[in-house]
């Protein structure tokens, strides 16, 4: 029986129906989860998806349709639906053109040694159970959840231009949520460690130690006071810098936001938007980050500096935004799955390291906060209003250059065009992280990302939070 999701058959059927341009994305994905809740195996599940998405341009109008029904009649219907959607745009829609780039033909697989699919379930469960025991052995821990996650994603992109790109990625990791209690006060700390790798990553680490560390942090945090709201000098560790850049700058540099008139960075190319110490990069293949050699339009993911020495140099692009607002495709058109159209998304966002040693950043801080990423929950931005926010893990007060007591529930808030100007020192210690348990959400789609940077000092930032 011929493969009903054969992208070439789909391509020729769409072209026969009169499409000007067609691209086809076939995806097969497996996600394995183990979830141990207070010592009870709550979930051992395997999720599989397999389907195809078809994008059609007709007279400049875009229609998209997808299906997971693996029979040729359903696939044909999907192509017809995409065409019908493009036609429905004629009265009200916006015409778009695609940037014509060089044809891509490639097949890439992320590095791994041992496929986690081949590892016995009981071996995986044992690791999770051991991590749980170690976390609960910490005094003050009243509840703990341990998660194992493994994703194996295979995507093929084929287009009318002759592109044929296949990318296969494996991402694996373990996450710990520990809840500490002191008196009547409870506090939670979540941390995870993931890598683009196979089972060897799990074997390379002592997860019991990791779980114990998270437990200790949660236990200590339950005893810590909330921070006094106000404006502080902040030193952000590697994880927090990544989170801040992703929110404070990354989203506003996505060209679909700019094109829509939804970004405060519109019209600012060539302008100073950050301190000259700041260079921000989006790179699909940095160590520690997620691995994206090509985007979901078959464009090679180039390393792009959106900000160089404080000056806005460009935006992150898809084929359509590169054409409409000017620029070259950067390989940032991404979709959560075959069933979604692409959006402009970040890959791995990070700041390039500077010259200072991390400890030098603390030296002349009289009153400040050392903002830690461990246990951080993430952030959010409103790129049009120019406001962003992110929440740190348990952090520490700095007094006269010294790290003092812990504070919890630390939420930072800033303005896109202000905060990066207030960066006044950048350390030399670059680190980038990704996660198999989360990612970045936009327009109802979640994609894997990475972020990071060196330790960075921000002279003024608003900090508050719950209690």
């Amino acid at each position: 029986m011929p493969d009903p999701f054969d992208p070439y058959a789909i391509l020729s059927y769409a072209e026969k129906l009169g499409a000007d341009f067609v691209d086809v994305r076939v995806q097969r994905r497996l996600y394995e989860t183990i979830h141990l809740d207070n010592g009870v195996l709550r979930e051992y599940s395997i999720d599989k998806i397999y389907g195809v998405g078809v994008r059609i341009y007709l007279d400049g109008y875009m229609g998209f349709a997808s299906t997971n029904k693996p029979d040729w009649e359903s696939v044909k219907k999907t192509v017809e639906d995409a065409l019908c959607a493009a036609k429905a745009m004629r009265l009200t829609g916006k015409k778009q053109e695609l940037y014509k780039r060089k044809t891509s033909k490639d097949s890439r697989t992320s590095t791994y040694k041992v496929s986690a699919e081949e590892v016995d379930p009981s071996t995986k469960i044992n690791i999770v159970v051991e991590a749980y025991k170690r976390c609960r052995s910490v005094e003050g821990i009243v509840s703990a959840l341990i998660r194992y996650g493994y994703e194996h994603d295979k995507r093929q992109y084929v287009s009318s231009w002759g592109d044929d790109v296949q990318v296969e990625t494996r991402l694996i990791g373990i996450g710990i949520l520990a809840i500490g209690k002191h008196g009547e006060v409870m506090e939670r700390v979540y941390d995870a460690d993931s890598a683009v790798a196979g089972w060897e990553f799990i074997e390379s680490r002592d997860w019991g130690v990791f779980a114990e560390e998270v437990g200790k942090l949660a236990s200590e945090a339950s005893k810590a006071p909330a921070i006094k709201p106000g404006v502080y000098t902040a030193i952000l560790d590697n994880e927090m810098v990544g989170l801040m850049l992703h929110e404070a700058f990354g989203h506003a540099s996505e060209a679909d936001e700019v094109e829509a008139n939804g970004s405060i960075l519109r019209g600012r190319i060539g302008q100073q938007v950050a301190n000259p110490l700041v260079t921000i990069v989006d790179d699909g293949m940095i160590e520690g980050g997620f691995w994206i050699p090509y985007d979901d339009e078959g464009t090679p993911k180039r390393r792009v500096a959106t900000v160089e020495k404080g000056v806005l140099k460009g935006f992150l692009h898809s084929l359509t935004t590169a054409k409409s607002i000017g620029g070259e495709p950067t390989g940032n058109a991404r979709a959560m799955a075959y069933s979604y159209p692409v959006l402009v998304r970040q890959t791995n966002t990070f700041m390039l390291p500077g010259d200072a040693k991390p400890e030098e950043l603390f030296e002349d801080v009289k009153q400040g906060v050392y903002i830690r990423g461990r246990g951080a929950l993430g952030g959010e931005v409103n790129p049009a209003m120019g406001t962003f926010t992110f929440i740190a893990g348990p952090s520490y007060i700095i007094e006269n250059g010294e790290i003092k007591n812990m504070v919890r529930g630390v939420m930072l808030s800033g303005m896109i065009l202000e905060t990066l100007r207030n960066v006044d020192m950048v350390a030399n210690d670059l680190k980038v992280k990704t996660s198999v348990f989360g990612g970045c959400g936009k327009g109802g789609q979640m994609v894997r990302v990475g972020d990071g940077g060196p330790h960075v000092r921000v002279s003024r930032i608003t900090i508050g939070g719950g209690r």
């Binding site: 051992y44 395997i46 995409a82 406001t387 939070g465 719950g466």
Partner: protein, 456 residues
């Protein structure tokens, strides 16, 4: 029909699993025909269509469990059943596993399926969205803006349903429709600009209601130009109903889950019959709201739903149970078992969370009560609020400063923080008279004092 395909798959899977040594099995399927249109810079950028079914199967070998989630409608049942039973045999026993839920039936019935949504063609969706864009533009200019556009947004309609089947020969299904739209409206005036974000969802198509909400949002988009942070300190804060809903969803709703109670991570543990919120507050789990986003006649494990007080006069009446957590306490499920994904085990959660004040005030009266405070219309990062301890926080993107009952001007970029049990307890000043839905949370405006504000 995908539903028939799923029902057939369920029976074949369950038979095969029992043959391979499973003691029992549970099948949960969902299907959705989705049509969506996307806006960029005041124009429709693309239309997408998808039609898919997905399903999850949970299997027990004694008290050992495993599950699989699939979207493949012609799977290799023999091989998958074998893998699933093998994984289950390898998992540790859950001594509390009471078996999968049985005695499927329907509880309250409400309107959840709108033929008009089911029949919408792509052209009609584009037309509706065009109307929204034009209405926003007119309303913004009517409110004094030089220009008002919808920068980004979308509209999605779903015709779908869910199906639950067990190895005891029971099955139930329910069909539903959904329309959601989100738009960001930007207004410009005298060189300044500001935005407002509208989120709307309903199980029926009511164009008048969508346009009314659009007009309201477009007017608001003109009100926040030149917003700045204010001095740090303690303020009174008036939360717009949508903002109340966002906080409740994150920091309060999960605390009622019997799973979190039993696992020791909810501050409501041991508080049944105790005063946990102000006497002015009632909270209901209400699956009977017509066209409510969370309305349904049975939960994701086939148990009938029911309308009930969870908090009455501020006193905690009950937790929310699924079958597993209920049996652990020798109780019956309250019909609140919902799944994160088709393959996940159910967890207790609200159908529609309906929060209402016993003594209420009009919006203008609430503003009149404020001596020094802010009205919060828009927040980001609210979802980092912490249900484990009630810690509540967000950064304000759209706020108005109020002094002695008078609106002074826009503010943004400040963090509001506190604790939900204080905000809805000793620090609650007043509750609005209108209960407004946002997704499956229905909430009023709330005026709260002693809120920590981190600003300049």
């Amino acid at each position: 029909m995908v539903r028939e395909v799923l029902l057939d798959l369920a029976k074949r899977f369950i038979d095969k699993l029992l043959e391979k040594g499973a003691s029992e099995a549970e099948f949960f399927g969902s299907w959705a025909k989705v049509r969506a249109a996307e806006i960029s810079d005041g124009r429709i950028k693309g239309i997408s269509v998808s039609d898919a079914g997905k399903y999850g199967i949970r299997v027990a070998v004694g008290r050992r469990l495993a599950s699989i989630g699939l979207s493949d409608l012609s799977p290799d049942i023999d091989k998958l059943a074998e893998t699933l039973v093998k994984i289950a045999r390898n998992t540790p026993e859950d001594k509390d596993f009471p078996g999968f839920a049985t005695n499927y039936s329907r509880g309250v019935l409400s309107s959840t399926y709108d033929e008009k949504i089911a029949g919408l063609e792509p052209e009609e969706i584009a037309g509706l969205l065009k109307n929204v864009i034009e209405t926003a533009g007119d309303a913004g200019r009517g409110a004094g803006a030089d220009e008002t556009i919808v920068t980004q947004g979308g509209l999605e309609v779903i015709d779908g349903g869910k199906l639950v089947v067990n190895s005891f020969g029971e099955h139930l299904y329910e069909e539903n429709t959904m329309l959601s739209t989100w738009i960001e409206i930007k207004s410009r005036k005298d060189g300044g600009e500001s935005t407002f974000y509208l989120e709307y969802g309903s199980r029926r198509l009511n164009e008048d209601e969508i346009l009314r909400e659009t007009i309201e949002a477009a007017k608001l988009s003109t009100r926040f130009m030149g917003g700045k942070p204010i001095e740090s300190g303690k303020y009174e804060v008036l939360l717009h109903p949508h903002v109340t809903a966002k906080f409740l969803e994150t920091v309060l709703a999960p605390a009622f889950s019997a799973l979190h109670i039993q696992r020791g991570r909810s501050p409501l543990k041991g508080k049944i019959d105790k005063q946990v919120l102000s006497e002015n507050i009632d909270i209901l789990d209400d699956p009977s709201i017509d066209w409510g986003v969370g309305s349904c006649s049975f939960d994701d494990e086939g148990i009938p739903t029911s309308r009930k007080y969870v908090v009455s006069h501020g006193v905690l009446e009950t937790y929310l149970y699924d079958h597993y957590t209920a049996r652990r306490e020798n109780k019956y499920s309250t019909g609140n078992g919902f799944r994160r994904s088709v393959s996940s085990p159910p967890s207790p959660g609200f159908t529609n969370m309906y929060v209402v004040g016993r003594n209420t005030m009009k919006w203008e009266e609430l503003i009149g009560e404020i001596k020094k405070g802010i009205i919060v219309y828009g927040v980001i990062g609210y979802w980092t609020s912490n249900f484990v301890n009630g810690g509540t926080q967000a950064t304000v993107t759209h706020g108005l400063l109020v002094e002695d009952g008078e609106v002074k001007g826009p503010i943004k970029g400040v963090v509001i923080g506190g604790n939900i049990y204080e905000w809805m307890g000793k620090d609650l000043v007043g509750v609005g008279d209108k209960v407004v839905p946002l997704g499956d949370i229905h909430a009023p405006a709330m005026l709260v004092r002693n809120v920590d504000v981190a600003g300049r």
